[in-house]
Subunit: 338 residues, 2 copies
DNA sequence: TTGAAAGCGCTAACAA
DNA sequence: TTGTTAGCGCTTTCAA
């Protein structure tokens, strides 16, 4: 049998209350007893039972991270930031990676009711108004990352501004037929990136041509942000023949990777025949020499945890809404002045 | 306050024992009461408190996954398999991703003592004999993935065989100066891949030339399996000038990506000047058109969970040691007959 | 400063 | 078939 607080108390010749106080360094324990208890704990290799503690304290020291399973590198980078922050504050992390966006509510419900965690981080996934209300009403902390709800805390990047600078960069190189491959518009980052693209065109006085905008199919994954969809979208653009765009802003690096393949298969080269800019700056972008818009993924994860833990620990400050800046990373795929 | 089993019992006009039995579908509950209880549960939106349940049952329905933080895609793929299997069996997953291999023991200790989880999956990380014994003695289930210990359950790939087929493929194309870039030899997969490489040379009657073997520095990460180390290793090989190898087997795709960059920077081309084969078949390999040795990562994760849950649920079968087959995925980086 | 005892919300053994 | 009760291992009053 595992060693419990009773074993420690007996061995140290004190009551269990004292042991508990010693562990949780309460003020009113004499240095002498504290030392004795601590040494017995070391000797017996005692460690408090997490569940028992959770039950008594009504606090689990654990957070849930809910994330779409197919997110790949974006998620991996965010997760690194999350992990770093979580470990630093001695919390544990339960990962729910879900394969269909529709199941989001089911997991939110679980985390809300089961009380296995003290708060939740919802990444790249939409929350319904109904559940937003549940969280608000029960004062259960939640923060959204790469997602948005008007009543909840959220951390996103300036998607619109990122798309704007990407498109403007292409424009500044002399391109006039600039296309865009976007993710599914039910994703709000995808919507915002489209706005940025259109804004850049408008500023340059170039009319929007809807033949040049392809909204990705959902092939796999949540929202069309995947390689296959980028590949197919590019094929549609190439089918325009001579009227095809000379430059394309793609709403994610993964899709851009697919687009590059389609271009190469068509016997064309990047950036000579077609210039490309992606979005995210995941690791693959560097391998592919892809110009892209960098999202500060690590920072997003880190910041999200900081905010979540602050809420868990009783911070009552008003709603938190942070939009981080993006940054254009210029590599060879966008080419030079034409 | 959250709704408890007492609320349900009162509302349904039964004792809490009956509610408990209805929830956990015990046999001896009449259909009538069961239905009533269940409908009250739905009405009150009751969900059992995970901690209370864990405490009473001495079972948390949660497993820990301990993984080095820098593993990248390999881990991501394994994790997909893990997640799928875990969800299917209604377990939760606590993720501990650690930044220094030396901290492994610290986390193993935590999982072992704190009783927050029912078992642990240790991925790509070594366990000391001392801790292996702790787990064995306390009958606490653990399974190793991409790692090995002579007394514990483990799932690995046939690293040696994989390296052998890769090297033999290069040899079969006519190469005689075949080099290798390996990870740090304290990693057993790295050791095994080296053995496979040497075995292939021996079978072909080619003497081993130690100028052609580069053991990666640890630049970042656990074991030298990273891009930067591959890049530097390749530069060392290129420094051999005319005597440089004409083909190279690299012990991971990530390192191969770095090697490719070094080759391109030197103004050489792949596969014409130098043929390359990687290991893992992570997503990047496909983007880079890299011939590689595929590890069945998803299957490893899945299988590991299946085994772990079986142990948790009382399976007393003898030690489990599985070595999965690898598969050569031929793309363009290995070239054709010379 | 300390010990005793009452929960935390559940499961499971025991009675009925 | 059901209700009652004694834990599970801890924290936290309340007294002393």
């Amino acid at each position: 049998m595992a060693v419990t607080i009773y074993d420690v108390a007996r061995e140290a010749g004190v009551g269990i209350g004292t042991v508990s106080r010693a562990i949780n360094n309460h003020p009113h324990v004499s240095q002498k007893t504290r030392d004795r208890v601590l040494s017995v704990i070391k000797e017996l290799k005692y460690q408090p039972h997490a569940m028992a503690r959770g039950l008594a304290r009504k606090k689990t020291n654990t957070i849930a991270v809910i994330v779409p399973v197919f997110t790949g590198y974006f998620f991996l980078e965010v997760l690194k930031g999350v992990q770093q922050a979580v470990i630093q504050d001695h919390y544990d992390l339960i990962l729910y990676s879900i394969d269909q966006a529709e199941k989001t509510d089911q997991f939110l419900k679980k985390t809300l009711r089961e009380k296995r965690v003290d708060g939740v981080l919802l990444i790249s996934l939409k929350i319904t108004d109904q559940y937003a209300r549940y969280f608000l009403d029960s004062e259960f902390p939640i923060v959204l990352v790469d997602s948005y709800h008007q009543e909840l805390d959220s951390i996103t990047v300036q998607n619109q501004q990122g798309a704007l600078i990407a498109t403007e960069h292409l424009l500044s190189l002399g391109h006039r037929q600039v296309g865009m491959i976007d993710g599914q518009l039910k994703s709000s980052p995808a919507q915002d990136r489209l706005l940025g693209y259109k804004a850049a065109l408008a500023k340059a006085g170039i009319p929007f041509d809807d033949r040049y905008l392809i909204i990705s199919d959902i092939v796999t994954g949540q929202d069309g942000f995947n390689r296959e969809s980028g590949y197919r979208a590019m094929q549609r653009l190439l089918a325009l023949g001579d009227e095809r765009p000379t430059a394309i802003f793609v709403s994610s690096d993964i899709q851009a990777a697919g687009a590059l393949r389609a271009i190469h298969e068509a016997g064309l080269t990047v950036p000579e025949d077609i210039a490309i800019i992606g979005f995210d700056d995941v690791e693959i972008a560097e391998y592919l020499d892809l110009t892209t818009v960098r999202q500060p993924m690590y920072e997003m994860g880190q910041l999200a945890v900081k905010r979540l833990l602050a809420c868990i620990e009783g911070d009552k400050s008003p709603r938190f809404e942070k939009h981080l800046d993006t940054q254009l990373i210029v590599r060879s795929s966008s080419g030079v002045q034409i």
